[in-house]
């Protein structure tokens, strides 16, 4: 393999990969330590740690689905406009007019699957006792990630802007009216009354902050679009990094008891 040899000895190759071929133990370790994508992983793990019968690979599948959602979501953003005038039409166009419009379906199926695999992942972690010390904080992060996953689903649900979406968000966001203290129909709402002026009304409560209006409308569509495409994915990415990091720092994937 003269060509392969030449490439591997070239300045360009060596500037990217600062280690020889990972043929021996030392270089395999160096690969894990010097590669950005691999360095979150431990240098070595127990064989049982990757046994499918033990891990179900549900965390990995969930992360894979997150990547799928990211890629397909970015592609969908090229066609989708979050306005009353265009939102629903763009969704129809993705199906009827755009080539590979199945990307939208992939996004939707992936979303459903991601919620399911997240639950299964937590189920596995619970069954194997992997939430116990020293991994208890990572469990907390995982719970937050579950909430973010559900919020991603919830905000994405509105974007097609059909009747199902509008009324589902109407019904769903009505729960926020009952938020303690911050919801205008919630317990303790009267606590935030200053000088006889009610600070928490239907125009200033938690639900309003979520919807940007008193009812699901264009402001809501815009807010959910930004939340769905920017804010929640950013928060999720950050927590995912911490989550993976902590898996490594807390002793790696737990082994069978």
């Amino acid at each position: 393999m003269a060509i392969g040899e030449t490439i591997r000895n070239s300045q360009i190759w060596k500037s990217i990969f600062r280690h020889p071929m990972p043929l021996d133990r030392r270089n395999r370790i160096v690969v894990m330590l010097t590669n950005f994508f691999l360095h979150l992983h431990p240098v070595s793990i127990k064989k049982q740690g990757i046994a499918l019968s033990f891990t179900w690979c549900m965390g990995g599948v969930t992360f894979f689905l997150f990547l799928v959602e990211t890629v397909t979501g970015v592609l969908l953003m090229f066609y989708y406009r979050p306005t009353l005038e265009w939102a629903y039409n763009d969704i129809l166009a993705l199906r009827d007019v755009t080539s590979l419009g199945i990307l939208r379906e992939l996004h939707r199926w992936g979303a459903h699957a991601m919620v399911i695999t997240t639950w299964l992942h937590m189920y596995r972690v619970f069954l194997t006792g992997s939430y116990k010390p020293p991994r208890e904080f990572n469990w907390v992060i995982g719970v937050i990630l579950l909430l973010l996953t559900l919020l991603l689903s919830f905000t994405g649900y509105l974007l097609p802007w059909d009747q199902l979406a509008i009324w589902a968000i109407t019904v769903g966001s009505n729960m926020a009216r009952a938020t303690p203290i911050l919801g205008y129909e919630g317990p303790g709402q009267q606590l935030l009354t200053i000088g006889g002026i009610d600070m928490i009304t239907d125009g200033s409560d938690a639900r309003f902050g979520l919807l940007g209006a008193r009812f699901v409308g264009e402001e809501t569509l815009n807010r959910f679009y930004v939340l769905h495409c920017i804010a929640i994915p950013l928060a999720t990415s950050l927590l995912l990094a911490i989550h993976f990091w902590r898996v490594r720092k807390d002793g790696g994937i737990s082994g069978p008891l």
Binding site: T170, S204, F208, G217
Partner: protein, 374 residues
Amino acid sequence: MAEKKKMSVAEILAAARAKSDGGAAAPSASEPQAPSERQAVAEAEESAHVEVEAKPKAKPAAKPAAATAAGGARPSVADILAAARAKKAEGGEGAAVEAAAAVKPKPAAAEKPKPAAKPAATAKAAAASAPKTGVQRDTGSILAAARGGAKPGPVSKAEAPELAAKLQAAAAKPKAAPVEKVAVARTAPAMPSRPAKTAAKKEGEEDRRGFLEIAMGSFMAMGFTALSVTGGLFTLGLARFMFPNVLAEPPSRFKVGFKEGFPAGKVETKFVPQYGVWVVNADFQGQQQIYALKTVCTHLGCTPNWLEAEQKFKCPCHGSGFYKDGVNFEGPAPRPLERYAIRISDDGQLEIDKSKAFQEELGQWADPDSYVTV
């Protein structure tokens, strides 16, 4: 002095034994010496067989501990052990009994000269004759005995005299002076004195470095405080940012026309898309009224439809049904629809005010603001 190396307790013990057994024959050059606290031992040992002649007090065996005490250095575990060993051995040889007794409060028994030649035999004899805790050759008991009833842990300087006094009393030696000296040495090591730096600072508190430290400390504190406050305020502002001051919503108070436009029995649905109200002219509890019903299902907030053929409001979400007067009769809705305030304005038109709602289950539909009589 020899090269400085860490010595284990065992090594120290061995060295001490060898020395005391063989008199001054211990090869000090070959003995590894540890820095810091072990150095005291080394000095003591050296002085034990080098400075013996120079010192007026001829207490060779007691030298280690005594020298240490005299020097003001902290006696380490090794010190105590060495002293104990030395004393014991000498006691066996019957020499410097006084010194041994002075060195060890516990080995009061050692006052009696031991005829045994071998150290081991000495130890046994001592153990047999010792009135105090058994004098065994294991390190723990030697240490415990050496410390007497004193607290085994580190002792502050303030505590040291008190402990010494205690030990004195316990020892009850005829020789007061040496006992006192040694007792101080025997007590658990006092806390290290403060570094000279701090002491120096005490005199001139306001030197430049101190000022710099204070200044930089306050700058950091101020900086981080400011950062936290700014962050907090920004978060609050961010929360406020999410609530616009002006809403692009239809006005909450609006006119819908004259009474004559709403014939009896009619449910007017044309205001639903923009304002979210039905204006109904119907009989309610024997009285012909015009009222404005809020188009929000009391179940989960969907918008019901008015079904003219069936003369009912029907919610498409979960099937709740309401009579023309707004009272629920089927489906999951828990209570009747709500009314908005309605009145006849100055120009004679009906005016609806959405800022005020009336709930039937609270008896608010009896409020004259909630309807207009025909």
